[in-house]
Subunit: 160 residues, 4 copies
């Protein structure tokens, strides 16, 4: 059976929450098709990046039921995904064009509940070495409360 | 416009990769409807848990394009999601029924590329205190190579 | 044999480096006697604290052969000791008089060699919760190069 | 004034605790002179290493007032020193003779009070890569209670 038919069948009996979920997945597919995000998880989270000042990168996401754990709070793993994405993207931006960076370790302190309509992640540089870069990341709610703090190491490799 | 119509419109022009993605999203919605996973991210990752021996919890996932970063490797944030889920679920299982546990910190070492057809995460207990539990988590590829190692602290709270 | 006699015997044949070491140990004992440091390790490291502005604590130490590893660099464990002391002392200062704080976890990134004549450690607050405080610490050389960055969690307990 | 004279002067008026401290410092100087420890901090802590089975290194220390914080508990920084020493020594042992290893990061979970007459630290390998080694370390009391768990990354460099 064609995928279009399978979706139709599924959605015929869909609950309101399922319709909301289906709309979020469709939005993610559109973000990917439009090139707004390079990865599916970035599209799902609706990540939008800004690289205003040198040495700082900002990523915004809207909250959605897709991102929440069983307590209706932003999942700690997706908070980690946002932090890793922001720190890694900043590391990448600061490297010459023939280099890339891979995460070798990351530590996150979760300090407040991830609730509210949106989140903002700010990544900055702790140390820029020739082999390893160490980055810092912070995630804030829309009421400006810090919910998570991270540090991570990014190993510099030749880009293929 | 109805969500069913929106999906139809989108899928009419879908590329092969988009059809694959749509199938994965539909699979995730079915897992959630069938109660196989409590959270959307758990359903998307297709997480399946086993709690065989006391003090150990195992979670399996299949690899898919949804979970990969721009280098076609399991996204470090989703590796973190798997680790946090496994360690947190184990913490929860070991507590009396009137208690819950929240992640206060997690540190992950990424040691090999997340490639292959599936991954398995094994969580164990480092310390079970009355206020804080410390857990360990490891993620392996299907060729048994360790890709990530984590430790995390889980603060014990009264369950609402 | 009396300790005074034992020291005399040892120092009769002492090399120049041993005399320097003996002088450093004596200096440490004097710092302890004069109440400049509460702990022996604090006295040995010659830690001196300042608590100028609210929310920040600064600790200075002089470099010495006692603090170095086999590569003549500040030992990573003593860098950790300085960071733990500074973050813990700050946590303690910010609590009401009937509370104390114990370190539950600490993560350190070592980013440059600890060399030069002195080091300064600056501790600040990332999050002040009712159960757990999360602190940040940085260690700089006298040429202002950052050598280590840490985050740590301090669990708040009743003071005995 | 000669160092021998300075020690005599100081010890004439020494309290019992000061005499104990002076004896511990002298013991440390003897350990260093006898080549039992390569570093002063190793001698002060009385570290003794064993490398029995491949891939595991064990370090023992005796407890002493020198190692304690203001609560008479093994100082978290010295616990870190023991862990860093054990993990780093193991990393070093596993490398070819033209390579060395430097700590790039370490995270420690403190899970029980460091009390009792002695401590044992066991270091093992999590991952042995060509650029980075990841190690695990655990510290136990003499009653076999785990007091601290660590993971650390060691960057492999050419030995000078």
């Amino acid at each position: 059976m064609e995928i279009i038919q399978q979706w139709d069948n599924f959605l015929k009996d869909a609950s309101e929450e399922e319709k909301e979920t289906a709309a979020l997945y469709l939005q993610s597919m559109k973000r990917k098709r439009e090139g707004k995000n390079g990865t599916h998880i970035g599209a799902l989270m609706g990540i939008s990046s800004k690289f205003d000042e040198p040495g700082t990168l900002t990523m915004d996401i809207d909250n959605s039921i897709l991102l929440q754990n069983s307590l209706d709070i932003l999942h700690g793993g997706l908070t980690a995904t946002l932090l890793d994405s922001a720190m890694g993207t900043l590391a990448f931006k600061l490297l010459p064009s023939d280099k890339a960076a891979v995460t070798t370790e990351m530590k996150i302190n979760y300090v407040a509940k991830g609730i509210g309509s949106s989140f903002i992640c700010v990544a900055t540089v702790i140390h820029k070495g020739s082999k390893i870069m160490v980055m810092e990341g912070k995630v804030f709610r829309d009421d400006e409360v810090l919910i998570a703090h991270a540090t991570g190491s990014f190993f510099i490799i030749p880009k293929k």
